[in-house]
């Protein structure tokens, strides 16, 4: 039952509740880094990694520091500090990760380049960590959810980089050249994901 629930969360995050195409979070890297396939994949993998790490770090902080059990309604309830504390944690994590990669995996550090610091202000990361708490997931569910959200991001980026290549080769009306046609194609890509609505519930019978 546990495995089924985890699988359901995982695939829901990728297909049904895709953070970019359905929840419209993280649009900035989605439009900014999807021009080339390799940089899109690199960015998505970095986001996935930071997402899982950030969830693993913020979940215990929320549960044991901000809102420990039985604190609800009392003056000990620090839930209102969630946003600021989570941003702090994510910033620290990204910086730590950057140092780590620089020292131990310079090749990856070089290929990620400027994208890594940009993840600090990526709203999908904050969105995933906060929504995990809001959905009442336990620790393992949260981590699986973050991994799913990251892979969903990867899927959206890879799909859209393909779409964009086709759009760039096509002849577009002058008024649609550049960003407008990109936004229109993003909207249609997003629409296509609406087709996944309900698919996961039907497969896993949750």
């Amino acid at each position: 039952m546990m495995a089924v629930k985890l699988a359901s969360i995982f695939f829901t995050m990728i297909l049904v509740d895709n953070y970019v195409l359905v929840k419209f979070l993280g649009i900035c890297p989605f439009l900014g880094v999807s021009k080339k396939l390799d940089s899109a994949v690199g960015m998505s993998l970095a986001v996935t990694f930071v997402m899982v790490l950030a969830t693993a770090a913020t979940w215990p902080i929320q549960m044991f520091l901000l809102t420990p059990e039985g604190s609800e309604g009392t003056s000990r309830d620090m839930g209102y500090l969630q946003t600021i504390v989570f941003i702090l944690i994510i910033a620290i994590l990204v910086q730590l990760l950057e140092n780590f990669l620089k020292k131990f995996i310079p090749a990856l550090y070089k290929s990620l380049g400027v994208y890594l610091p940009l993840i600090t202000t990526n709203c999908t990361i904050l969105g995933v960590t906060i929504l995990n708490i809001d959905n009442g997931y336990d620790f393992i569910e949260s981590v699986v959810c973050a991994a799913g959200a990251g892979l969903g991001f990867l899927l959206a980026m890879v799909l859209f980089s393909g779409v964009r290549r086709r759009v760039e080769e096509a002849v577009t009306p002058k008024c649609f050249e550049g960003l407008p046609i990109t936004l229109v194609s993003a909207a249609i890509t997003s629409l296509s994901f609406m087709g996944f609505g309900g698919i996961v519930e039907s497969i896993f019978h949750v």
Partner: protein, 266 residues
């Protein structure tokens, strides 16, 4: 404990712990970097715009130090950043003279004409593939603007059928020269007085004459006029050695077809 004190203690605590971890990490995982890289990064505007062709200011600083990238590629920083970077790179980098692009062709619409009418994809690359280009002179600028599209600084345009460099805007990055299928664009050191022969037609004088009225006919007049022997005529086309040239401009007056120009004055 009152909630506000608790909140302050909590956030400060997390921040402090994070700071300690980060400081420890930066000491433990310290990667020795050339201190010039850090200095150059600090001197750059930090916009991470990528106009220099690198993945951000830090990456550009690294490429300046390690791969000998030009010091004047920063567009937002302009001359100020270039001067600062040049100063940091110091003596060993040499006094880095800025480079400029020069179009080595003078065959404007009134000087030469087309061999055939080309109606395919409007790019130099495409027309070059069809019998070596549509110009009468096969060494000429094709004028379909591959260089204009390659230029990130809006510094090169097709004027009167051939490419023309906006000398003030040109940063000498060489993107246009790389994009040109005919190798008509040279990247030479910037100089206020030194002239350039703006033709590379290697046909014999009589043939050149028929193709273009602004073509080098290899008459040697410039080579004879040059007091420093900086001009050589090879393959029926004159070439000025920029390192020997002193900028006296005697050749400019001497040239019967008027194709020796000082790029800075154009």
């Amino acid at each position: 404990m009152s909630p506000i004190v608790l909140a302050i203690v909590l956030v400060t605590g997390i921040g402090l712990i994070g700071a300690v971890i980060l400081v420890a990490a930066s000491i433990f995982m310290y990667v020795p970097v050339d201190e010039r890289v850090e200095k150059i990064t600090a001197a750059l505007p930090g916009a991470n715009c990528g106009a220099c062709g690198c993945a951000g200011c830090a990456d550009y600083a690294k490429s300046v130090v390690e791969d000998g990238n030009a010091v004047n590629k920063c567009v937002p920083g302009g001359a100020k950043a270039a001067a600062a970077v040049a100063e940091i790179m110091g003596v060993e980098a040499g006094s880095a003279t800025p480079m400029k692009a020069v179009v080595v062709c003078s065959g404007t619409c009134d000087k030469t004409s087309k061999r055939y009418s080309f109606e395919g994809v409007q790019s130099c690359q495409a027309v070059k593939g069809l019998y070596g280009g549509d110009g009468l002179c096969k060494f000429s600028c094709l004028g379909y603007g591959d260089c204009t599209r390659a230029c990130a600084f809006d510094a090169i345009h097709i004027v009167d059928g051939i490419a023309k460099v906006d000398y003030a805007k040109c940063t000498g990055c060489g993107a246009c020269a790389a994009a040109c299928p005919g190798a008509v664009i040279s990247i030479i050191p910037e100089h206020k007085r030194k002239p350039v022969v703006q033709c590379r037609n290697q046909e014999k004088g009589a043939v050149t004459r028929k193709q273009c009225t602004a073509g080098c006919i290899g008459c040697m007049k410039c080579a004879k006029a040059c007091p420093k022997e900086a001009i050589t005529v090879e393959n029926n086309v004159a070439h000025i050695d920029q390192s020997k040239c002193v900028g006296c401009q005697l050749c400019v007056k001497e040239c019967p077809v008027g194709i020796i120009h000082v790029p800075a004055n154009q």
